[in-house]
């Protein structure tokens, strides 16, 4: 029997591909663009993404507290400056370097004043 799409049935949200690079990591890396409403499968749990996230960006594998070390490749890559829930985007707005501060086009002066 040939299946046809049911126009009334709600469209199944896309399962967003995120990858775990090392078993000890507390972040996952997005390998395909995630749209708002896409479903993230994290350690067997499903979470609906509240944000659009680009390829190469990170999401929290578990809830993280401010000050928590962030692990990628099994190695520390910085610390959280804010708490995040599982599945939330982890980036410049809630995380910092433990070495040299990162700069963006809009944050250059701020970093200079940190010297």
């Amino acid at each position: 029997m040939t299946q046809t799409a049911d126009p009334v049935a709600p469209q199944k949200p896309a399962l967003a591909p995120v990858i775990l690079l090392h078993p000890n990591d507390n972040i996952l890396v997005c390998v395909k663009h995630i749209s708002i409403g896409d479903v993230l499968l994290i350690d067997g749990e499903t979470i609906t993404s509240a944000a659009a996230i680009d390829v190469g960006h990170k999401i929290a594998r578990a809830a993280l507290t401010a000050g928590a070390k962030v692990y990628r490749y099994g190695a520390p890559i910085g610390s959280m400056t804010d708490a995040v829930a599982q599945g939330e985007h982890v980036h410049m707005h809630n995380m910092k370097s433990d070495y040299l501060p990162s700069h963006t086009r809009s944050r250059q002066n701020k970093n200079r004043s940190e010297l």
Binding site: V31, D54, A75, K96, D98, H103
Partner: protein
């Protein structure tokens, strides 16, 4: 990698008088101060338009500064006597500090044809351009006489750099280059990775891979030097595009960059212009010694490519996530694109699509083998994409280095 490469893989190289072999026979035309840049560029452009060969056989290089700098001199000497270079034309304004006579005599002593034009003595812009075009023709016909000989993988030096990195670089392209490096080192080739400022955070694990504890200590010290230097500069080696692409911190970028080195032991620590003495994996320290004096260690990726070339690299493996287009005709640059979306946008600038790894279409080993095949093909004469497109970006700025310490090359002591 799944299949060990056959160490008898050979290609046709150019035999140089110093014993080294090249995979290209390029004529470099060098301005010795910015004031001679325009005249030099005209010589290159006009010489190329008269050349029946594809673009790339004549390469514009130069140093813009008028003040003397030992590093800049050494870099010019190293590039002009690189095994891929068949001859050199130096173009001086006349009053700058670069020791043009010494540079000329060192190039000639390396067994290469070389000529010098001084604009103030040659009669100005038009006369120098005319004389320069004739000089390039003479150099090309001399260089064409160089003997072709079989060349093997264990005579090849391959450098790697990442530029325009993003959050995918450390997952796909960089570890794939690492697999290629492992195979090359196993075949006794020389592999060089670099930018200690982009290895901040990796110093301990990197030191553990050094062939001696003393070398490990040198590696940790050189990363500490880089961190201090960049701290004084006020910016880490981290560009806004890195953040756009998902990288948040310098140490995150470092961990991704580090995977280009593969898993071989680290045989030595070298500085720009040092040529590794034997097959193996080497770390190139690109951060100047002493108190920061001349600004950022390398103001752009191109400066790092030139330093890898000055260390003898015949081929450069350039990984990119955001998408870089740069290249060199002296030592062909092979582009390995980490991000599948970038690859689709910039396919015409890329040699290898490592983004396939993220889309589940290829494994790291498969892409590593593809990179290795690209190295062999380019060494055999096939032009890389950036080479075919005529990319010749070149930048050389002021720096200061102390010679490497005795612990930096244990292999030399063993040999």
């Amino acid at each position: 990698m799944s299949s060990p490469i056959n160490s008898t893989v050979s290609f046709s190289g150019w035999q140089r008088a110093d014993g080294r072999k090249g995979i290209r026979n390029v004529i470099v035309v060098a301005y010795l101060v910015e004031c001679a840049h325009h005249v030099t560029r005209r010589i290159v452009n006009l010489a190329e338009s008269l050349d029946e060969n594809l673009p790339g056989d004549v390469h514009l290089i130069g140093f813009p500064g008028c003040y003397p700098n030992q590093y800049a001199y050494e870099m010019m000497r190293a590039v002009c006597t690189h095994p891929n270079v068949g001859g050199a034309l130096l173009v001086s304004l006349g009053c700058e500090s670069m020791n043009r006579e010494k540079l000329l005599s060192e190039i000639i002593a390396s067994g290469r044809p070389a000529e010098l034009l001084v604009i103030q003595e040659a009669g100005g812009t038009k006369a120098t351009i005319e004389a320069g075009i004739a000089a390039v023709k003479r150099l090309q016909s001399e260089a064409a006489k160089v003997a072709r000989v079989p060349m093997y993988l264990n005579e090849l030096i391959v450098g790697t750099i990442c530029g325009g990195s993003d959050g995918t670089s450390g997952i796909s392209a960089n570890p794939a280059v690492g697999r290629c490096f492992d195979a090359l080192v196993a075949a006794d080739a020389i592999c060089i990775f670099e930018e200690t400022g982009e290895l901040i955070g990796c110093e301990t694990i990197m030191a553990d891979r050094a062939v001696t504890p003393e070398l490990g200590a040198e590696i940790e010290a050189c990363v500490a030097k880089a961190e201090h230097y960049y701290r004084v500069m006020g910016f880490g080696s981290f560009a806004p595009g890195n953040a756009d692409g998902g990288l948040t911190t310098l140490e995150e970028k470092s961990m991704g960059a580090y995977s280009k080195s593969g898993s071989s032991p680290i045989s030595g620590l070298i500085k720009p212009g040092d040529i590794p003495p034997a097959g193996g994996l080497y770390l190139l320290d690109v951060v100047p010694d002493g108190e920061p004096r001349f600004g950022f260690p390398n103001i752009s990726d191109n400066a790092e490519i030139i330093e890898l070339i000055a260390c003898g690299s015949h081929v450069i493996l350039f990984t990119t996530g955001r998408g870089s287009v740069v290249g060199s005709a002296i030592s062909p640059v092979i582009k390995i694109c980490a991000n599948p979306e970038t690859y689709r946008r910039l396919a015409g600038d890329m040699d290898v699509n490592a983004g396939r790894i993220l889309e589940g279409e290829a494994t790291l080993d498969e892409v590593g083998e593809e990179i290795l095949q690209n190295v062999i093909d380019v060494a055999s004469g096939k032009r890389s994409v950036s080479e075919e497109l005529g990319h010749q970006e070149f930048i050389l700025t002021y720096k200061a280095f102390e010679p490497i310490g005795p612990s930096c090359l244990p292999v030399r002591q063993i040999a």
